[in-house]
């Protein structure tokens, strides 16, 4: 019982971070209609930013956090401007391949600067834990859940109730019509990248606080799984990202917790199995809308 509860807590932690990353994939896909496969690597860069801040001795945690989010947002903005914007009118395939290229570029730059060995961030946020009965819950878990929830709700309010949010919805539905309303599609897409990458920054903080390690491939593996979560929940949908993220996190934690040790290595495969099953049963995802292509 105790084991089950702590496994579920693990799953919720993992799921929260997946949800934030899935949200970034979803937003960018919804508005720019592209899969930003470099999204996961932005997280990796964010964690290295935290690592660098920790090396510089006594920076307070909140400055480290701001630096991490700022680095990610700026990286997202720059990548969009340099790599994706020039391809705005070309085929989706070239954009996709470019995104994969950016992903490798970021990994290799990280490899060059930080080498391939795993870095540890033991000093980053240690809050200890609370005990409820027999169960020990690390305090950081509450921070992770709270942050994810606040961000999801905040983003939902922003999109539904502000002018910029409505513009984003309009662009995601019909770029041409949005332009006729006076919406600058290019800057709306840039804004989406900045928000998505800032979310990756937040995910980097939570990841670093919980798992305390990073190597150049941390982001891409994590990112692909979060992408699977986004597709599972229905890409383009905010609640879909949340549900997809938590489902994946829980299933992964349960596989690691309860399968025999020899099989835990297969936990990564669970994400993809889930993705394949969903694609067979409901290609648009759990909460995805079926789009009718209009001529």
């Amino acid at each position: 019982m105790q084991m089950l509860i702590s496994t579920i807590i693990d799953g919720l932690n993992l799921g929260s971070v997946y949800a934030l990353v899935a949200l970034g994939y979803s937003m960018v896909y919804g508005i720019a209609k592209m899969l930003n496969f470099a999204h996961g690597d932005v997280i990796m860069v964010g964690i290295y930013a935290i690592f660098v801040c920790l090396q510089m001795s006594s920076l307070p945690v909140w400055i480290t956090a701001i630096v991490c989010v700022a680095v990610c947002a700026l990286l997202g903005f720059t990548v969009e401007k340099l790599a994706y914007k020039p391809l705005r009118d070309s085929t989706p395939l070239s954009v996709l391949i470019t995104a994969i290229g950016v992903s490798y570029l970021l990994q290799n730059v990280a490899l060059l600067i930080f080498k391939s060995d795993r870095k540890f961030l033991q000093k980053f946020i240690d809050l200890g834990s609370v005990s409820i009965g027999d169960i020990e819950i690390p305090k950081i878990s509450f921070v992770i859940w709270g942050t994810t929830l606040v961000i999801m709700i905040g983003l939902d309010i922003f999109i539904k109730n502000t002018k910029m949010g409505r513009a984003m919805l309009a662009v995601s539905e019909d770029k041409g019509a949005a332009q006729l309303m006076g919406v600058n599609v290019n800057s709306t897409i840039s804004l989406t990248f900045v928000i998505g990458s800032a979310l990756a920054g937040v995910a980097a903080i939570l990841y670093a606080a919980k798992y305390k390690n990073v190597d150049p491939y941390t982001g891409s593996v994590f990112g692909i799984k979060a992408f699977a979560a986004a597709v599972f929940g229905g890409i383009g949908s905010i609640p879909g990202a949340l549900i997809g993220g938590f489902t994946l996190g829980l299933i992964e934690a349960l596989t690691i917790g309860f399968l025999p040790d020899t099989l835990t290595a297969a936990s990564d495969g669970v994400a993809y199995a889930l993705l394949i099953i969903m694609l067979i049963l409901k290609p648009s995802g759990l909460l995805g809308k079926k789009k009718i292509e209009k001529v």
């Binding site: 409505r166 539905e173 041409g176 019509a177 332009q179 006729l180 006076g182 600058n184 209009k294």
Partner: protein, 237 residues
């Protein structure tokens, strides 16, 4: 009357195909001008080029003395020109009210905005009844009303309408055309693209007949209605 919109020797290419082969026409302030012609004649392309959704290859588009061909699409609406695109293209997933707000995207004054919404509701009472409904659930005629109401939210001096009657029941068609006349009477200039030539000519002051990228005929709308070749080709008489 002065020329509000003046198109001179406009050429537009779609890939290798020349869709518009050098057309010239003008719209005076206060007029309703109809652009009629068969499917594929270039009517929609012409409107798309005016509002910048499609780039012009050469020629000029002058609106109130300002050249539009080099201005990006999203800057056109704040210059006083609003475009109701073919197929309405309302934002299906937003509410009726949010669609109207999108129409006023470039405007800042909240009080003026409220007045505009009132004016739109006066033209289209049905939109007020359905203001909280998701736009995609409206009927075709209601969606057309929403598209027009949305376009009016920017307080345009000229309204470009692309096939407002397309796919509507005869009852709705009459209602829509009645509203176009009303909008015109309240001082908005109208450039109307239509396949329903009879309806279009009945409310227009002047008209141009577009045939495969060229202007084949032009003149007073009432006179064109009597023109034999127009009768034969577009009025089905």
């Amino acid at each position: 009357m002065s020329e509000m919109l003046k198109i001179t020797d406009l050429k537009v290419n779609y890939g290798m195909i020349q869709a518009i082969k050098g057309i010239s026409f003008y719209v005076n302030e206060g007029e309703i001008v109809a652009l009629i012609g068969a499917n594929g004649a270039g009517k929609t392309t012409t409107l798309h080029t005016i509002t910048g959704l499609v780039p012009a290859k050469s020629g000029s588009i002058e609106f109130e003395g300002k050249e539009l061909t080099k201005i990006p699409a999203h800057k056109i609406v704040s210059m006083g020109m609003s475009h109701v695109p073919e197929g309405r293209r309302i934002f299906q997933e937003l509410t009726v009210y949010d669609n109207l707000l999108m129409g006023a995207f470039t405007r800042k004054d909240k009080n003026e905005l409220r007045d505009s919404i009132k004016t739109v509701y006066k033209h289209f009472p049905r939109l007020e009844e359905r203001k909280n409904q998701i736009a995609g659930t409206l009927s075709g005629g209601e969606q057309q009303m929403l598209a027009m109401g949305r376009a009016l939210m920017s307080k345009p001096r000229i309204l470009l309408l692309d096939e407002p009657s397309m796919g509507l029941s005869p009852l709705y068609v009459s209602e829509i055309f009645h509203i176009i006349e009303e909008i015109s009477k309240m001082g908005t200039t109208v450039l109307l693209v239509e396949q329903n030539a009879k309806k279009a000519l009945s409310i227009a002051n002047r008209a141009y007949v577009l045939e495969t990228g060229n202007i084949a005929l032009e003149g007073d709308a009432k006179e064109l209605m009597q023109n034999d070749s127009v009768k034969k080709a577009y009025l089905g008489e």
